[in-house]
């Protein structure tokens, strides 16, 4: 199930955020070898201090299966403030109808035992991301990611399209991509992964948003 957690106001879900930062350390530092800062087995960066919205998928025991981070492009975000070299300095995107997703992480150890585990969990997370964004009046989600992610996204039925040629940043082939929040996209992800009904732990979440998914 999906939880939407505000970074600076996690309420009852502080434990889940803590588990998410540990998962991120495991994924980005240990497995993918990104140059990230890890302290106390937790990975955070300066964008986590800007009160982002986290989309987190948990199991019934509150284990974090997968997570990502959402920032408005009207404010500081990674494509404009860290990876501007990818698309050139004048390509800064500032629109209230574009959100940026970053730090997508999935716990492959927890998922390894399930058939199609990774692809289904990715599908649920991305579908929730797109449905939430669409309900909030957002047309596009952009993201900067490791090209190794593309295969996982594709298998889940979620086609992010490249906005630029991949470039080597540090040791990582990095690319900026784009996904539309249209129902045609979420329908495809739902069909591919047999998803029905609400994906959200708290049914009130979709009511709080202007457009029911």
């Amino acid at each position: 199930m999906i939880r939407l957690i505000q970074g600076a106001h996690p309420g009852d879900d502080a434990d889940i955020l803590d588990k998410m930062f540990r998962l991120r350390a495991k994924v980005f530092n240990d497995r993918l070898g990104w140059e990230v800062k890890v302290r106390d087995n937790r990975e955070t960066d300066r964008f986590d201090e800007l009160n982002p919205l986290y989309v987190v998928e948990t199991d019934e025991k509150r284990n974090v299966l997968a997570s990502l981070r959402l920032l408005p492009t009207t404010g500081p975000h990674m494509l404009s403030d860290v990876f501007s070299e990818l698309m050139g300095p004048e390509s800064i995107i500032r629109s209230p109808r574009v959100l940026e997703s970053s730090r997508f992480a999935a716990d492959t150890e927890l998922l390894g035992r399930l058939p199609n585990g990774l692809s289904t969990v990715t599908g649920v997370l991305l579908c929730a991301l797109l449905e939430t964004s669409r309900a909030a009046g957002v047309d596009f989600v952009i993201s900067v990611y490791d090209v190794r992610m593309e295969r996982i996204l594709r298998r889940a039925g979620c086609g992010f399209e490249r906005l630029c040629e991949p470039q080597k940043i540090g040791d990582v082939m990095t690319v900026a991509g784009l996904c539309e929040t249209a129902t045609s996209i979420t329908d495809e992800i739902r069909a591919r992964n047999n998803l029905t009904g609400s994906l959200f732990a708290d049914p009130a979440w979709m009511i709080s948003l202007p457009i029911a998914a």
Binding site: P96, E161, I207, I211
Partner: protein, 240 residues
């Protein structure tokens, strides 16, 4: 989105004073047939850093004065709650209200504040933060329908209005959001050549979706309602 919407947006570009801004909100409220519109900015950079908040609204003067005099920001749950997040907040989804907040809404209603509200948070590039609120008296089903139809426009309006207030406050945005990227210029150039989205996608080896994304970005930057208008404006301001 219709012509009237962008005519309004154009009018918004001519805001030169707080009075202009106020009149603009009144025109918008009339256009959307809503009772009130309100803007609150905090952390605005600029010469007057001693002003902690910048408020402009169509609420009655009596209510604004009363709110100030009684320091109602201490019990008004809408602003803190909407500033917590990045997505628009429907007032029906405020957390359970304390008795003081219930009394506050009761009193607000006596002064013309209606029950339905959508508060849109705006986070700027320099730590500036604002909330743009739409307030009406529609019944639940009509309100739901109204939001669905208009939320995308309100997101843009809220963002544009915030930019205007920043300009009004003498703050020049460090990044000129009206500067087009090479990709956006390419799209407009091919559009000016009479090419459709599909044709541009073929020519540049991109997907339709990516072409739509760049064109929509260019239109957001230049505040235009059609591709043709966007091309014309890009030429006029020397961006193409």
């Amino acid at each position: 989105m219709d012509e009237a919407f962008y005519a309004l947006v154009d009018a918004g570009e001519h805001i030169r004073s707080v009075t202009d801004a106020h009149q603009f909100l009144e025109k918008l409220a009339e256009h959307y047939d809503v009772r009130n519109l309100a803007y609150l900015g905090v952390n605005l950079p600029g010469p007057d850093e001693n002003r902690p908040v910048f408020v402009i609204s169509t609420y009655s003067k009596a209510w604004v004065d009363r709110y100030r005099a009684r320091n109602y920001q201490r019990i008004d749950p809408v602003l803190p709650e909407s500033m917590k997040g990045i997505l628009p907040l429907d007032w029906r989804n405020l957390p359970p209200l304390r008795p003081a907040a219930i009394r506050f809404f009761g009193e607000a209603h006596d002064y013309g504040v209606q029950k339905q509200g959508l508060s849109i948070p705006i986070r700027g590039a320099t730590g500036d933060l604002a909330v743009f609120t739409v307030n009406t008296d529609l019944a639940d089903p009509e309100w739901e329908d109204f939001k669905q139809r208009n939320i995308r426009e309100f997101l843009l309006i809220a963002f544009y209005f915030h930019q205007q207030v920043m300009a009004l406050e003498g703050f020049k945005n460090a990044i000129d959001i009206r500067q087009l990227s090479q990709r956006e210029r390419d799209m407009l150039w091919w559009t000016a050549e009479g090419k459709t989205t599909k044709e541009i996608a073929l020519i540049l080896g991109l997907s339709d979706r990516t072409v739509r994304f760049y064109i929509e970005n260019a239109m957001t930057k230049l505040r235009c309602h059609s591709k043709a208008q966007c091309v014309a404006k890009a030429i006029r301001i020397g961006a193409l």
